[in-house]
């Protein structure tokens, strides 16, 4: 789940988890109306990790397990997963931010949930902490769990997610598989020693929009046209390209496009 800061990611998840009352609309979990029982099958951490600061990590997890009706024997296993076993008896308030985030993931895992909801799990961590959390997420996903990840770190989403949705000011802008990013429209970068290259490119039938950046033209290709068609067109005109590459769109680019498209409409 992507969106700029304040786009409603946490609010949406809060509604799904019963802490924010929706003003309109409805949703269901696992095909049944949402209740505290459906929440027990979901492991969720929204925004910051929340625990009783004066209790140890172990005690906090015991409380979580009690609420969720989970087997407390899972606790050593999840502590191992997030590598907190050696600090489990220390009070929560003595934990570093990275440890707090990891304890939060442990608490979400303690009931062996079907779905895991993580809201910006790497927020505020150093590069090593980010890498650690990312490894943990991949490890969990490999166990066959569904993970809903809210983030504004696009790189992260592209690396670990299969589907993505984009939110802006509380409305859904886009939804689709991450693999589809980069399909469809193709962007070809072209450069040649020719003064009227820009004008010529507009004559090419496959040209969508053309942008110029640092002396390189970026041609958005229409459907059915590819870089080789552009190359042949230029060759026929007697121009030899000095630079010609096909660029796949990154999620970041698509994300920015989705957001700017809709702001025009709005």
């Amino acid at each position: 789940m992507l969106g700029p800061n304040g786009s409603g990611k946490t609010t949406t998840l809060g509604m799904l988890m019963g802490v924010v009352n929706p003003t309109s609309g409805s949703f269901s979990w696992f095909g049944e109306a949402a209740s505290n029982h459906t929440r027990k099958k979901i492991g969720a951490v929204l925004e910051h990790p929340i625990f009783y600061p004066y209790l140890s990590g172990q005690k906090n997890l015991e409380l979580n397990a009690m609420i969720k009706g989970a087997d407390p024997n899972n606790i050593p296993k999840v502590l191992e997963t997030v590598e907190l076993t050696s600090r489990k008896d220390d009070k929560y308030r003595t934990y570093s931010l990275g440890m707090k985030q990891r304890l939060a993931i442990a608490s979400a895992l303690v009931s062996d949930p079907i779905i895991l909801i993580l809201d910006e799990p790497t927020n505020g961590l150093d590069p090593m902490g980010i890498a650690e959390i990312r490894e943990i997420i991949k490890k969990i996903a490999a166990d066959g769990k569904t993970i809903i990840l809210a983030s504004h770190l696009l790189d992260e989403v592209q690396k670990v997610c299969t589907h993505f949705a984009v939110l802006k000011r509380g409305s859904l802008m886009h939804i689709g598989p991450v693999d589809d990013v980069g399909k469809g429209e193709e962007v070809v970068e072209v450069q040649a020693y020719h003064d009227d290259l820009g004008v010529l490119l507009q004559e090419f039938l496959g040209s969508g929009s053309i942008k110029r950046e640092n002396g390189i033209f970026q041609v958005m290709m229409k459907d059915g046209y590819h870089s080789k068609d552009l190359n042949r067109f230029l060759f026929d005109k007697g121009i030899v390209a000095s630079h010609l590459t096909t660029r796949k769109k990154s999620l970041e680019k698509q994300f920015l496009e989705i957001l700017s498209d809709t702001s025009h409409k709005a």
Binding site: V19, H48, Y52, Y54, I67
Partner: protein
């Protein structure tokens, strides 16, 4: 909550002061008598049956009623902590229903009220057997219904504190409001029941929430100045206090249910 150090410290202080105060009545009387002697007044403390069965029930219970504010402050801290640390939010996310959360707090209040009753009952039994010259078993249990009234008194007040905590959500502000509650209610009553209308609608006073809690156990000591006192629990007062108790908890539930946390 049981691992929270403040909880144990306040709990300990409460039961210690409660215990010492209620058990030191005779020493206070002796001190008063010695002060009185300095001014030439002689008080024969042995003629004041402070700790004699069955007077002792109402006497001790009225005194301990003054200490319930300590428990109430603890209840406020426990509920506002849940907001401050946002653990209420995480508990709901983890699968607790809002009612279950409130229920756990209400049950804690019941437990604290019961503990207070047990505490006073044991102190009353010990001191009563020490100080009562001759125990008349026929009258032994006269006034023991005050324990039920005491339980309602403490529980009603803790329910009020819990509601206040859920409505205000900030510990400092809630504690100040709690302390000022009696004064605020008194000011409201003074303004409503002006002397011109006092005769007609004065009876409405007993329906005010805090007044109804106070009315459960009437002040007993005037009887030692040869005045008539109410030495029984009025059923009307119990009914009014119970209605308020239900309302306090219901308002707390409504607020909890409707708010985003």
């Amino acid at each position: 909550m049981t691992s929270y150090r403040t909880f144990w410290v306040i709990c300990g202080l409460y039961f210690l002061t409660l215990g010492f105060t209620t058990a030191s009545g005779m020493e206070i009387l002796k001190w008063l008598a010695s002060k009185g002697a300095e001014f030439g007044a002689s008080i024969n403390i042995n003629r004041i049956p402070l700790y004699h069965f069955p007077d002792i029930w109402q006497n001790l219970i009225w005194i301990s009623g003054l200490f319930k504010i300590v428990l109430a402050v603890m209840v406020v801290i426990s509920i506002t902590n849940e907001y401050q640390y946002r653990t209420l939010r995480q508990n709901i996310i983890d699968g607790l229903s809002r009612w279950e959360f409130l229920e756990s707090k209400i049950l804690t209040n019941v437990l604290l009220s019961l503990m207070s009753v047990v505490m006073i009952l044991s102190i009353a039994l010990v001191t009563g057997f020490i100080y009562t010259p001759t125990i008349e078993w026929d009258y032994f249990f006269v006034g023991s219904e005050f324990f039920l009234a005491y339980f309602i008194e403490v529980f009603a007040f803790l329910s009020y504190a819990l509601m206040l905590g859920i409505l205000v959500q900030r510990s400092g502000l809630t504690i100040v409001l709690l302390m000022l509650s009696h004064m605020i209610e008194a000011i409201i009553k003074i303004n409503i029941f002006r002397s011109s209308v006092e005769d007609q609608i004065g009876w409405l006073k007993q329906f005010f929430p805090l007044e109804s809690i106070t009315n459960l156990v009437p002040l007993p000591f005037a009887r030692y100045a040869f005045q008539e006192i109410q030495d029984y629990v009025a059923l009307g007062a119990v009914a009014i206090a119970l209605v308020w108790t239900v309302l306090f908890n219901y308002f707390a539930y409504l607020k909890l249910k409707k708010s985003d946390i």
